[in-house]
Subunit: 218 residues, 4 copies
Amino acid sequence: MPTNNLFNDILRSQSGKRTVKQQRIVETAVQLFAEKGYSNTSTAEIAKAAEVSEASIFKQYGTKDNLLLNLIIPYIKDFFPLMANDLVLQATNNGDPTFEGFLRFLIRNRVQFITDNREIFQVLIKEIIYKEELKKELFPYFVEIVAPRVTKYLESFKERGELVDLPVDRILKMLFTFLGGFFASRFVLWNMESISDEEVEDAIRFIMNGLYQSTSDR
Amino acid sequence: MPTNNLFNDILRSQSGKRTVKQQRIVETAVQLFAEKGYSNTSTAEIAKAAEVSEASIFKQYGTKDNLLLNLIIPYIKDFFPLMANDLVLQATNNGDPTFEGFLRFLIRNRVQFITDNREIFQVLIKEIIYKEELKKELFPYFVEIVAPRVTKYLESFKERGELVDLPVDRILKMLFTFLGGFFASRFVLWNMESISDEEVEDAIRFIMNGLYQSTSDR
Amino acid sequence: MPTNNLFNDILRSQSGKRTVKQQRIVETAVQLFAEKGYSNTSTAEIAKAAEVSEASIFKQYGTKDNLLLNLIIPYIKDFFPLMANDLVLQATNNGDPTFEGFLRFLIRNRVQFITDNREIFQVLIKEIIYKEELKKELFPYFVEIVAPRVTKYLESFKERGELVDLPVDRILKMLFTFLGGFFASRFVLWNMESISDEEVEDAIRFIMNGLYQSTSDR
Amino acid sequence: MPTNNLFNDILRSQSGKRTVKQQRIVETAVQLFAEKGYSNTSTAEIAKAAEVSEASIFKQYGTKDNLLLNLIIPYIKDFFPLMANDLVLQATNNGDPTFEGFLRFLIRNRVQFITDNREIFQVLIKEIIYKEELKKELFPYFVEIVAPRVTKYLESFKERGELVDLPVDRILKMLFTFLGGFFASRFVLWNMESISDEEVEDAIRFIMNGLYQSTSDR
DNA sequence: GATGAATGAGTTTTCATTCAT
DNA sequence: CATGAATGAAAACTCATTCAT
């Protein structure tokens, strides 16, 4: 029974391998990295909070850097594929095949996902800025898995005349620029627990129609 | 002859006070903080790169933290007021009093400003996530100086029926969520030197009309 | 087989806990603090002399200040109780129940004790002047443990008419003022290894009869 | 009109040489050294509190160590000679030529002197423990100037049968051991502003008759 | 698998001191 | 005479990492 929380899933899937102590290391590290940032969290702190020895951390992960990657990469590796899968799922049995329906599903789905994995999301956003390694992990996933699938969607909407007359890659850029700002500001900068339905609707409207009210609409 | 580069301006305005070495400290610190982040830059590194002694840094700034704040806070203190001033300027003698004209001016103006002060902007964005102090410095400036002025604009556009029927504060939120994502992704995440006119126009169109092509428009 | 040397005793009692290196840290620190004073001894010096890394010192004690307190406080915590115990011991099975006998026992007992723990005593005296913390540790021990017991003695002597007609608390003050000066000058200021029997006898005579030879005594 | 406060006297006697700023340096240094100890007071602190530049301190005194010596040595150089002079003065025109009279004069005289120069006395006591230089300055003054004069007195009292039958040097030792403890504990350890008459009388009585009440006295 | 002990190489910060002006 | 600017050296303290048990 997989939940939407990767963390639990990873822990469960590896429960045969990971001991209680090892689980505590991971949980604590994510929590502290999310709260104070990777650079400002010492392995000693993690060890103390997790009630394990520092040596145990290094036995498991070798280096502190590796610990970070081991927290984030599985998250990345699931964030986008899951998203892609969910999109497919939505495509096949969604009652609302419009662009708006797509947007609503996409945003709600991701809001839920990030809400369920907020701390890791915070770590990811905070560290992606600094670590080239992370960018290099993240980028291909986006380009190869997410972009094509979303592009396919966008193209289908475009064919139906539902989208503005702009190359799809530039539409995609605008869409993800906004969504990136939307999620990062709420979940990371303002440390919100989730995003209200109202704001989701505002976002959908904004993405769809922008802020301008054309004269002909009046 | 004030330029758009705060950094030079600050340096010039204080040129009677700051010595060559002190200028080198500031320049170098901004550069390194922008490149590697505050936590990952040691004062020893700064001192070496600036060709001064570490003692000189601490004599001037007391603590490393204070050095950071002394770099960023003057920037914040000018970023928003200048923006506000420029907006007023635009209001008074702009040939294009439409919402689109306003947007174009706002975005181009800020793109130019950030392009001129890119490194400090990077430091600001990277550190605002971590330092409550910075949030506390930044937030009031936004709320008291920028928000009211932009709100005034938005309201005037709204009265003229140019804006969607949504409370102005929510319009403002969407607008700045997008612009935040737009600037942060380009200038910080992707470390771009500037933003092309084409993308600025895409952004304007996106903000105005969104991505959806209503059936009646076809 | 407990000796009179707290140091060895502490080390022994914790020999299950302290490693050889940790013992060397304590020994070396006491020695250097006694010789040059706390402020004039760097942790680097201690580390080098003890042939351990500075990191080991800080891992154990956290701060240099804490190291000092960890050396002295156990000493204080034993200095006075032991003294009190010895006094009781003396009371129960002493062949000389006079005031002079009491004095002789008290002084000899403390001379021996300090001789056995000279360096710590030096550290204590040198630092008590500066550290309020130490005063706050030392004072209650004196007031609660030593003073009452000595007072009890003095009162019993006074009842027997052996003491001058002065409130006991003022007698106590004079007694300890002298003893303080006696021990501090010899063991700290002049850095003597011990105090000769002759001087002990001089002190006893001084405390008992002062320097004046009343006419009636001639 | 010389007062009993060396400090003022030194300042006045050198007022032709010392500027206001230089006076402030000395005053401030004494005050801070007395309060926190020489090692725990930085030249920067002194400069700031005295409202002069650090450079001025070093221009005057060369080194921090030299500053200390320049504060204390004049004090030492006056403490004992003045004491000796006052003793002679007392000898020539004192209405009370007894040992007790001598003691009362000596103690009151010194209490007054130290009260008037409390901070320097604190510095002296706190630093004499650490600095061999100071011991080497202090010791000869004591041996050559004070000891002979007091010894002379003591011998005269002894000849008159007023003192215990003990070599004068050992009497001297006991006397100064007590006085050292008396002054150091009150003025330095407990940081008292002065000593009450009552305690002075207790001290006189203690020095003269000790604490014992011989049976024959009852 | 887990950890207590130990550390080399830093980190931020302090400090007494110098010197040109 | 006075000081602003600058610093080499060292201070206290931190940190990721290793290793024997």
